[in-house]
Structures are given as C-alpha cells and as structure tokens.
Symmetry: C2
Subunit: 413 residues, 2 copies
C-alpha cells in the first residue's frame, strides 16, 4: 500500500504546545489532574478541535470523549486510537496528550488528502489514565473494554474520600450518556512516548510494542503508637515511620535480587499525625511492583509482603498489606504489531520491537480487541517529570506510522 496522506508535524507540535499551556507548571511541565477544572479546559479544547475536524463527538458514561469520522461503510466496526489528556501532578507535555493529538492529526491529514476509509475511525480521550486523584488508573478504558463494572468506575473515591469519579465527571460537565464500550471494534492503536531509554539509546525512531509487563499495586499501612518526641524513650517506641522506612529500603534492595530486574516503587507516603514533635503513629504508603514474567512477579510480590511482615515483627508494629489492583503481563495482537513494523519499514524509519514498562489504556483494550502500540523516543528516557521531552520529528514519524496502520486496517474505499 502506498502512502495515503501525510501528517503535518508542525501542526501536531503546535497542538501539543497549545494543549500544554493548560496546567503548565513553573518547571516547564504539565499538571492536569483528571477531572479538575484544568482537565475540563483540556477536554473543551480537544472537543473544539474534533468539531473543527468534522468529527461527531460523543461522551460516554465514564466521561471518555469519542470523536468519530464516518467510513464509507459506516456500519463496519471502527478502527480506534487514543490516549489521555490527564497528567501526573508534575508531569510532562507528551505523556498521553501525544496519543490523543496524534489521532486528531491523522484525521486532519486524511481530511486534507480528501481520503475516506471504508471502516469508520474513532479518536478517544480516555478518562483518568494516571490514577493520581482516584484510587486506580486506566479504569475508564477498563470499563470500556469490559474489565470493570461501570458502577465500580463511577464510584471510585478520590484520595481524600470527599468525592467520586462520577460526581467529578458531572461537576465538570463530562458525565455523558453514550454507552461505555459494548460495541465491536476492528482494532485499537495507541501512540505514546516510550517513557524509557531504549529507543533513544539504540537509535530507533519507532518501537513496535509487543506487550506490557505485569503489575501489582499495594497499599501498606503501618501502625504503631504516637508519643512525645522529647520524652518517649527510644526502647519504648513503636515508631510507624521508622518501620515504614525499613520496609521501603528493604523493598528497594529486594528488587536487585532478581534477574531480569523488576521495578519496585514507593511513590506515595503519608505520615500521621505528621508533626515534628510527635513520634508517628501511622504511616500509609504505596508499593508498585512490575515484571514481564508473571510467575516471577508473583514470587517477588510474595517476598515483598513477607519482608513487610518481618520488619513489622522486628519493630513491634502492626502492618496491613492490601492489594489495590494488579494485571498480568499482556501481549499485543501479532497482526497489529506487524502493521506497525510494516508501516515503519515503508516509511524508512528505524524500528525495533520493545516491551512497555508502563501500563496504558491499550493494555485494557487488548482484552477486548486486536491492539497495538507505537512508541517514539523521549529524551533520556525521562517521563512523569516536568523535563519530559520528545523531538518534533520523532512525534511526526510516530503519527505517520499511526495513520498508515489505521488506514491499512480500515481499508480505503
């Protein structure tokens, strides 16, 4: 198949930069937490752009925004792409936004080329991929793909326990009435920055993503006894933070005992009562463990939990280890992966197979439909960081691959 339409890399870059002004952080990044007023502003801009590009826009029960471009056979299952406009608190300009706006650029390029595909195309902004505000991420795509109940998704509490995902959707005007998923789709493709150092290090422009590693997330609660920092003798203390510190140090050391290395992260920690002059009585922290091998992942998680219990026993503390969510490693559809490789080859772009370290909405979609992902390099592998950066030409290349893969799947009338 010949090149059907050319994406405009400058236009894609300008859209990314315009979107990144919404929630811009002093350090040059983006803080656009899901279902905040800033997220609403980002959504509104995306909806405007969809309408300008002639897409029919609908919002589903999980607040996912779907822009649809009719096909010549409009009853055929659509070819779908998308990612997310929400970000980490101190995130970058590209994580998520790239995949949404690359989908939009595909549509703009096809419009300019006057080309209509046989199957319809859909561009989706998935709600709350990051899972910062609510207790789990990638839930809206999970409901769409039939992995979670709609009620579960809408009732997710926020971290402070003061509201729910459904109430926040209503608050910002994105509590849509379209059904969330439940219709056949031909394929799902997601373009994303790699968020790791491999493509850059090996001089590749395109990553054909084979799958994603397995992940288990825990919340650990350590309970001791509060006391006065000046008067409670050291031997009598049951200091929850000292226990938590030993656990976090131990979990980090544990990671290096396995080959290939897992990643083990404590990103969130809260001390109670968090006062300089009081021995902490309770500490809550997250543990996130990922590995491509499901059997080894299970082993690591068992060792991690045992480590927390051992430390608690040694320090006279109580510990509760609650699994919050987990997912086995997944493999993407071979045809979709090959479609990415083939497009890169036709375009003369250096391409290599790669595994995803991060979870993505595509991991949910893979349970329901043929799915593939396209990675492009990001500078120094840095992501979830205000310094996250991707080169305009790499972003354009990934977008062109996305266009080719989608058009090949949808067919040309």
């Amino acid at each position: 198949m010949a090149v059907t339409a050319a994406v405009d890399g400058d236009r894609l870059w300008r859209s990314l930069m315009e979107m990144s002004r919404i929630g811009a952080t002093p350090g040059g990044g983006v803080g656009r937490l899901a279902l905040t007023d800033l997220d609403k502003a980002g959504r509104d801009l995306f909806v405007d752009w969809c309408k300008e590009a002639g897409l029919a826009v609908r919002v589903d029960r999980m607040g996912n925004i779907i822009g649809r471009r009719a096909g010549t056979d409009d009853t055929a299952p659509p070819v779908v792409t998308g990612s997310h406009l929400d970000s980490q608190p101190l995130g970058g300009k590209f994580d998520g936004a790239y995949g949404v706006l690359a989908g939009l650029e595909v549509v703009r390029a096809l419009n300019e080329a006057g080309l209509t595909t046989r199957a319809p195309l859909e561009i989706i902004n998935w709600t709350d991929e990051e899972g910062v505000r609510f207790t789990a991420g990638v839930v809206a795509s999970g409901v769409y793909a039939g992995q979670f109940d709609l009620d579960f998704g809408r009732n997710l509490p926020d971290r402070e326990g003061t509201t729910t995902l459904g109430r926040e959707l209503a608050r910002i005007g994105y509590d849509g009435d379209a059904p969330c998923g439940g219709y056949p789709i031909s394929a799902f493709f997601e373009a994303h920055i790699e968020q790791g150092p491999i493509l850059e290090r090996e001089g590749a422009v395109i990553g054909a993503v084979l799958g994603a590693q397995g992940r288990r997330c825990y919340t650990v609660t350590v309970t001791g006894e509060e006391g006065h920092a000046g008067t409670l003798p050291m031997p009598l203390r049951r200091d929850a933070l000292v226990g938590a510190a030993r656990m976090i140090d131990g979990l980090n050391r544990l990671a290096f005992e396995f080959d290939p290395l897992p990643v083990i992260t404590t990103g969130y920690l809260q001390v109670r009562p968090n006062s300089r002059n009081t021995v902490p009585g309770r500490v809550t922290f997250s543990v996130d463990i990922r590995h491509p091998d499901n059997a080894l992942l299970a082993d690591i998680c068992a060792r991690a939990e045992a480590l927390c219990r051992t430390v608690a026993g040694e320090t006279g503390l109580e510990v509760e280890v609650a699994e919050m969510f987990g997912r086995d490693s997944i493999r993407f559809d071979p045809d979709c992966v090959e479609a990415v490789r083939a497009a890169a080859k036709r375009l003369g772009l250096a391409c290599r197979d790669i595994h995803s370290g991060a979870g993505h909405d595509a991991c949910n979609l893979a349970q329901a439909a043929p799915t593939g992902m396209i990675f492009v390099p990001c500078k120094d592998g840095i992501s979830h960081n205000e310094r996250e950066y991707a080169a305009p030409e790499d972003l354009a290349a990934g977008c062109q691959v996305l266009l080719e893969a989608m058009v090949a799947r949808a067919g040309v009338a």
Copy 2:
C-alpha cells in the same frame, strides 16, 4: 508557712473537661492547633473564666493572654505561671491546658480563701507552644523572655507558606497591643504532665523539675529525579524516598550507639510529587535530637548530619541539612526547684527530682527569670496522643503545690 488556701480538684477537672470539648477528636483526644478557629474558641473560654475570677486581662503583641491578679504591693514584680492551650493535631486533654487551668484554679482558690498576695500574680496562656502549624514552637514565650525578636515571631510562616503567625493572630482577634515581656518578674512556675513514664513507675506524685535536655531540630531535604514508576530501570533511579528511608532508619539506629540514650525522631515527612506511579523526586523531613549532655548532643548531631551525607553520596542524591532551631540543656533556678520540693513535703506528697524530656515555655522563661516546673504523672507516660491521661487527684496535687510555691514567692500581706 501553713497551707494558705485549698484548690478544688473537682473544679479543676471540670474546667479541663470543658476545655477539652473544644477540638475534641473521635479518639478521645484534642486537636486544637495554634491560631485556628478552635484555638480562638479555647482562648475565648479562658478569657471569660479569667474575667469571672476577677483578673485583669491583656493580650500582648505575640497573642499571649495574661490574666493579672493585683497584689497588695501592685508595683512589685509579679509571680507568673502558665502554659498553653494549643495542642498537637491528635493530642491529649492535658498537655498545656493543665498548666493554664491550674493557674486559674490557684486564683479561684485564693479568691475563695479571701487571700491577697503581696506581689501580683499573672496567669499566662502562651501562643503556639506546639509549633505544629508554624515552623517553630515555644516562640511566643521566647519573644516574651527576650530570646527572639518580635518581628521574627510575628513573621513566622505557616507550613504551607500561605500566612504568618501575626496575620493569624489578627484573623482570630488576638493581635493584642500590650508589650510582649520587657518587665521584671519575680519567678515563673509551670505545672505540666510529665509526658514520660518515670513518676508513675516510681510511685511519685510530684516531679521537682531540675531542667530540660538540649534539643536540635533540623529539616532535611533530599533531592533526586522524578521518573515513571513502570519504565525507569532500577539502576538509573535517583529515588529521593529510598534515600530518605535509609537516612531515617540509620538515624534511629544511631540513637542506640550512645549512653545515656538520646531521643531522635522524624515526626514530619513530605514526598514530592507523592504519586503512586512516579519515582519521588524530593523528600523533606524533620529530625529532632535531644540529650541532657550538651557536648554529647553536639557529637550526636554531627554524626547524624554525616550519616545523611553518606547515604546521599551512596544513592546519588543531593541532601541539604538545615538547622531550624536548637537549645542547650538548661537548669532551673535552685530556689524555685526547692520551693516545689518544700511544698510537696509540707503536703505529704511523694516527690522526686526529674529532668524534662520535652521543651516547655518554662525553658524560655528560665533565660529571663527564676523559673521552676511541677510535673505530675501521666498514664503509661503517653502524651502527644489521644489516649493521654492524668488522674484527677494527681492534677489537684500538682495544682496545690503550684499554689503553695506561688504564694510563698509572692508573700502574704
């Protein structure tokens, strides 16, 4: 000297219980942070009670509330007592409030006995003893005693950096115009629960406090690099929380290397950006180190700082160790200590000498005037905890000792 007037233990207990309803926590404690609306409510109640007891009330530039009972020689330097009505976030009913309301009970008892002292008496509620909301505690008594500048005290920022102590005083209506200190006082006595296990363990009802241990407080900031929890390989990480955890664990182990044992506490810790899916880029935590021996304290602090720098070097992190405040160990005035011992002996109360593990407003006053403290037991030595408890009869005994010591100092006309 004979007993001059008898305090009413029931009335003291009822006042303590009534005060403890302001900011009562579900766990049976008190959360009445300095200069909040709850603190204002506690202050208002104290002012009402002072006026009912015939005291002349003034508020000084640091918001300290002073209730004055005239003496027959009203130009004589007053005998002063007091403590604080603010509390920890999850504090108890007695820490601070006891010393304020014991002072009030002394006045009520003298009123009932129709007894006027030669020198005037002053009962003081010191502003923000606990130092939870603002960046340092016992500052208002420090300004009163001439250890800190008034501007320093009034400009103290709150933890979020959104307001200052002075602005919060004005907000709750306690930005008084009386000078803060600067006048001679005859002596200062402070009644307080021990906040440690010694009196209870040894069957003593009264502690004649010899002095307080030295204290150094630091804020440690550990800086690494944020990254994606799923994709940033372990060997490339500069995880600020892993570094902080190793420091906190190490500081706890360090304490046990010294004899007699110091206390070393990290009570406050904040993670940035504090998101489950992001490797922490920055962690800030408090380190509080106390020991009765000033030379040994300096040695421990040097070792603690070196430990933080060593861990930072090993983990590729940057660390900043900032000393926030410090105080050498202090000794109270021998005559004041003896006045407490003598009163306990006259009353037939088991008394022992004791060192204070905690800092108190009395430690500031000791720099400016003859000062003593009276400790009473608290159950299991527990304080800065909702379960903090002291027996009504012990509180009454300490209050009677306070009355005797104050009257002995002030003289009877």
